[in-house]
């Protein structure tokens, strides 16, 4: 597989065009928080909202609006597909695993059982300049979920 194909896995290319979660959802009274992340080097930005379930123990939905490269848009889309229904603990664990994989410079083989479609971003970890692209929406989700949980506590 060429370097380019390692980076742009088919799943990433598809998610970058057919995006899940795009368009901010109305919390309709549920606990929620919105977080904005900006990458000044390339101008990529995302505004992402986490809405919690009515018992406030799991993720109800992730929705977002943003502008950026295929990696950043696909990462937001994949997360929006994966997160709903996850407990807050599992959600944080997923983000930690994703971050660890991306920071490994290609050293960590992803566990597809755990990471699911997000495992497709393993190739990004070899392109140091693009790690931040993949992390942008996940950092926004991490911040927003913490804030939503705190606000509702």
């Amino acid at each position: 597989m060429s370097g380019l194909e390692q980076l742009y896995q088919q799943i990433i290319l598809e998610h970058s065009k057919q995006r899940s979660g795009e368009g901010l959802l109305d919390p309709q009274g549920q606990a929620a928080a919105t977080n904005h992340q900006y990458n000044p080097t390339c101008g990529d930005e995302i505004n992402l909202r986490v809405i919690l379930s009515s018992d406030q123990k799991s993720i109800e939905s992730i929705s977002w609006e943003g502008d950026g490269c295929s990696i950043s848009m696909a990462a937001a889309s994949v997360l929006s597909d994966m997160a709903p229904g996850m407990s807050l603990t599992d959600f944080q664990a997923l983000i930690d695993d994703f971050r660890e994989m991306l920071r490994s410079r290609g050293q960590i083989q992803p566990d597809e059982e755990v990471l699911g479609d997000a495992a497709a971003f393993a190739g990004v970890s070899k392109f140091v300049a693009r790690v931040k692209c993949a992390m942008l929406s996940w950092v926004a989700a991490e911040e927003a979920s913490k804030e939503a949980a705190q606000a509702s506590a």
């Binding site: 370097g3 970058s16 101008g43 490269c69 990696i71």
Partner: protein
């Protein structure tokens, strides 16, 4: 030790001559990601020829010493080399040596001026600096086309003095709107700052026209020559601008050095920005007297080896002849513009093919983010710039956040541009867009 050259002096550049020139740039001979490097990012930073690298090395091998102090032989030699570099730069841009102030880069050069003007506004520099003071009601004018280095220092100066910052807008193509300029530059305008060649649009500014508008209302002018000095003949005295800024690393020289040009009358009158060693005559516990310009603006240890290397870069360009450099790059710029225009989904920024343009072209590729474009091209050995190119207001005016830019120099060939265009045509299909 005078440099030797592979090419005859002042010859029109041809593919054969450019192949000779490339021998002076060993960096260009490498492979990147399994492909020959095609370096199309000289607008961001240019490469250094061996002559320049040798000049800096030779200075350290034989003459390195502190300048403007000490009476020993090396100190004199170093001082002479340093001041010879100043004369070389001055001669290259139609200036006098006392009109050249060394800075770390062009950004610092703009800041030197804006802080000096700010100091004058606060009463420093006495009565001779008073005419430069800015305050509420005064207007500073720049353009939407500018690099951030020619925007933010003015924002800060406006904030410090209460002056107002106004912008000449750009057209849909990203070109300076000269009609609007006429209405914006008026009696309140004190300073007009603009670029000579746009680092994104590739357009060449009508300096004479903008200077004439400024002169009518008695405003000072600053020309950002970062993208012009490396690429076309420059005569600042003839252009009649009051100030100009330059950067060595965009013109075959090292990083870490740039320059502020200022007409002698202004540099004499303005107060210093940075203060400390080297820039004073008499110092007491309570006050100090400044050296004459340009020394009063050069506090602390200077960039001596960089100045020496920059002068060598200038001699290299002079040997080629700036008319020849300009003609070669104009051809490459047209090849870029015409080729990009042909690619489905590509929107060329700046002058249309056939219209005057420097040797660079930026564009937006529908549906594909510039970082993805750059990544794709990098895998084929093509080095281009992606992002906002330090010109966010320009991109915003064009309705985009970022673009991709290919910029050429004396060592680029039409074959490299062809390669770039061929690979660029593959980008949208790769990301799933049919033409």
């Amino acid at each position: 030790m005078a440099a030797t050259y592979r090419t005859p002096a002042g010859a029109s550049l041809t593919e054969a001559l450019v192949q000779e020139i490339r021998q002076d740039f060993p960096l260009l001979a490498q492979e990147v990601n399994g492909h020959p490097l095609a370096y199309l990012d000289s607008g961001a930073t240019s490469q250094n020829p061996l002559q320049v690298l040798d000049a800096e090395r030779n200075f350290y091998l034989g003459a390195n010493s502190a300048v403007h102090r000490g009476a020993h032989t090396l100190a004199v030699e170093a001082t002479e080399a340093f001041e010879e570099a100043r004369r070389t730069l001055a001669g290259f841009i139609g200036a006098r040596e006392e009109e050249i102030v060394w800075t770390s880069n062009a950004t610092e050069a703009v800041n030197l001026l804006t802080y000096s003007l700010g100091n004058a506004s606060q009463g420093l520099g006495g009565p001779q600096a008073a005419p430069y003071a800015l305050g509420p009601g005064d207007e500073i004018v720049t353009t939407e086309q500018e690099h951030h280095a020619n925007i933010i220092p003015w924002q800060v100066l406006a904030a410090r003095t209460g002056a107002t910052l106004r912008y000449i807008p750009v057209t849909d193509q990203g070109l300076i709107d000269y009609e609007a300029a006429q209405n914006i530059i008026g009696e309140s305008t004190r300073i007009l700052a603009f670029t000579h060649v746009s680092n994104v649009a590739g357009s060449i500014t009508d300096v004479d026209y903008l200077v004439s508008l400024a002169r009518k209302v008695g405003a000072l002018t600053l020309l950002d020559a970062c993208q012009s000095a490396p690429h076309l003949p420059l005569d600042l005295a003839q252009l009649d601008v009051d100030f100009a800024v330059l950067s060595a690393h965009k013109m075959l020289g090292p990083t870490g050095i740039g320059a502020l040009y200022g007409k002698a009358q202004h540099l004499d009158a303005l107060p210093p920005f940075l203060t400390g060693g080297s820039m004073i005559t008499k110092v007491t516990m309570t006050e100090a007297q400044w050296m004459p310009a340009p020394t009063k603006f050069e506090a602390g240890t200077q960039r001596v080896s960089q100045a020496v290397a920059w002068a060598e870069a200038i001699r290299y360009l002079d040997h080629l002849g700036m008319e020849n450099v300009q003609a070669w790059e104009a051809q490459l710029g047209q090849q870029l513009a015409a080729g990009i225009q042909e690619i489905p989904g590509a929107r060329l920024i700046g002058p249309a093919p056939g219209q005057e343009r420097a040797g660079l072209a930026a564009f937006h590729l529908e549906g594909v983010h510039p970082h993805d474009v750059g990544q794709f091209l990098d895998q084929t050995g093509l080095a281009v710039r992606v992002g906002h190119h330090c010109a966010q207001p320009l991109h915003r005016a064009l309705g985009i956040t970022a673009s991709t830019r290919a910029s050429s120099y004396i060592y680029n060939t039409p074959a490299e541009i062809d390669r770039f265009l061929q690979e660029l045509a593959k980008v949208r299909p790769y990301f799933g867009y049919s033409s």
